[in-house]
Symmetry: C2
Subunit: 301 residues, 2 copies
């Protein structure tokens, strides 16, 4: 981790702000204001409403680590955030988690009705693949690779599958291995795919790609462990979503399975694991990725 | 239409049966039985449960018309049917059309619950793009082209957008132009995309592609006009879904806007338009496409 310490956190913060500003402009341009019958407004409400933008930052940082194709990475960043945002819209609906608050605002179905929210989520998933497949500007082979990575991470073996396990596990005791599998699919796979999509935008060799994959897996799990910790240690105002929700719903979490202290230790171990993977990648410009791993573990919301 | 009459309808039926048999095997292989927590069962229930398979047949017939890449077309056929089937799952849900019968069976949310049905739909959309992006066997540039066509036809400017207009138009009087725009998006665009995806699998020139696009547009509209006619002339047992539903929901249809007789004439005109487009394509092997247009207009369910 020696090299990383030499990066001033102010420099990272500048990179983060600059990247996010460019990302928000790109995303805004992709999400149609004019889609029919309220659909465009609902889509824009759901995805332009802020959020940490961790997945886009991972795409962009991984692309910088491999000196990759900037336009392709920005499209990948928008696509992965569209997938993430659509999943939140659907997860919040009454038939799923039935949540009314997200990022400090009413959830999409509260604001637009259930039917429009469901369609907006559906259209956001399609839009993600539309964003990845422009007429010009990104090589077709890279387009196909990015679609492949995103589709696999969003589907039955990734995010949607994890959500199904999550639903089925309410009120159940899970061991740590099962919990880990659920979270790997539900959250981890898309975070890992963000890293791999960024890496796909440049000439990463097999060793670097494998290392970045390890980094993404460790970071993905760390993210969920910290999420579980924050769910019991922070209040709704800080989180911008309903706190204590998992506990109330009797859902198994890292805190319920391991206890608060051990969960905190696990998060630190996973952060170290992420940093070790970066060190093993053979890549030199991984400072942003390292600091993003720190950000994930040190965040308070 | 002269050339088409020379094709024996028994030969077409043989082609259709052979194509469908190969399609069902391919699709069965793509939809995971083992996806977690009931998700795989729900996906398989929703997409392997029969149906006319018109979209896959259009993909395969268009591919044959351009002497295209068979594996790519079969993947495209499966992908487009996954999109169609997921849209039915979501459309049938209580917050949308609230339907309990589909293809003669309980709808997916009735059989598996709303949460699993929504997730199954979401996972089916992702799976469509996964099917289009295999590691090997289909050229990456063709993969990207197929993803581009499918994403655009499924999203806000296509199917999801049409569904949003449909929802917003319940109880309203629409003129024929608005009704046509709604149906073009809701049903037509995906049917047209099926033809274009098949055509993309081979070396179709600009003239042929434009003609096939016209064919797809005419066929797509004809399909919906006939759907509206069948909704009032057939009963639920024949249709395998709830008949008279649009009328009961006070939805504008071609029958309510034009009357039954004029709607029938429009369907015949659109069929002629489809045939003329094929004649103008410069392609010789369009017999299956022509007979599919006939099938769309002459069907009774």
């Amino acid at each position: 981790m020696g090299g990383l310490l030499s990066v001033d956190s102010g420099v990272f913060e500048q990179w983060r702000q600059r990247s996010l500003a460019a990302f928000e402009i790109a995303l805004d341009g992709f999400v149609p204001a004019g889609a029919p019958a309220g659909l465009g407004e609902a889509m824009r409400y759901a995805v332009l409403g802020g959020g940490k933008r961790l997945r886009p930052l991972l795409v962009l940082a991984a692309c910088e680590a491999v000196h990759g194709h900037t336009e392709a990475a920005m499209r990948a960043a928008c696509a992965v955030e569209l997938i993430h945002a659509y999943s939140l819209v659907h997860d919040d609906m009454p038939c799923m988690d039935d949540d009314v608050l997200r990022r400090g605002k009413p959830t999409t179905h509260v604001a637009f009705g259930e039917a429009v929210a469901m369609l907006a989520g559906d259209a956001m998933q399609a839009l993600a693949f539309e964003v990845l497949t422009p007429e010009t500007g990104v090589e077709p082979a890279l387009q196909a690779r990015l679609c492949a990575l995103l589709a696999r991470s969003a589907g039955y073996d990734g995010m949607a599958g994890g959500q199904a396990i999550d639903l089925a596990s309410v009120g159940k005791q899970l061991d740590e291995a099962t919990l880990r599998d659920m979270h790997r699919r539900k959250t981890g796979v898309l975070l890992q795919a963000s890293v791999l999509m960024g890496a796909a935008c440049g000439p990463a060799d097999a060793k670097a790609t494998a290392a970045l994959s390890d980094y993404g897996a460790a970071l993905g799990l760390a993210f969920q462990v910290v999420d579980d910790i924050l769910d019991v240690t922070q209040d709704s105002a800080v989180l911008g979503k309903t706190a204590g929700k998992d506990q109330d719903a009797n859902k198994p979490t890292y805190v319920s399975v391991l206890g608060l202290e051990a969960a905190g230790r696990l998060a630190d171990q996973l952060r170290d694991q992420a940093h070790r993977a970066l060190a093993a990648s053979g890549l030199t410009d991984t400072a942003w990725l390292g600091l993003l791993a720190d950000m994930v573990v040190e965040r308070n919301s």
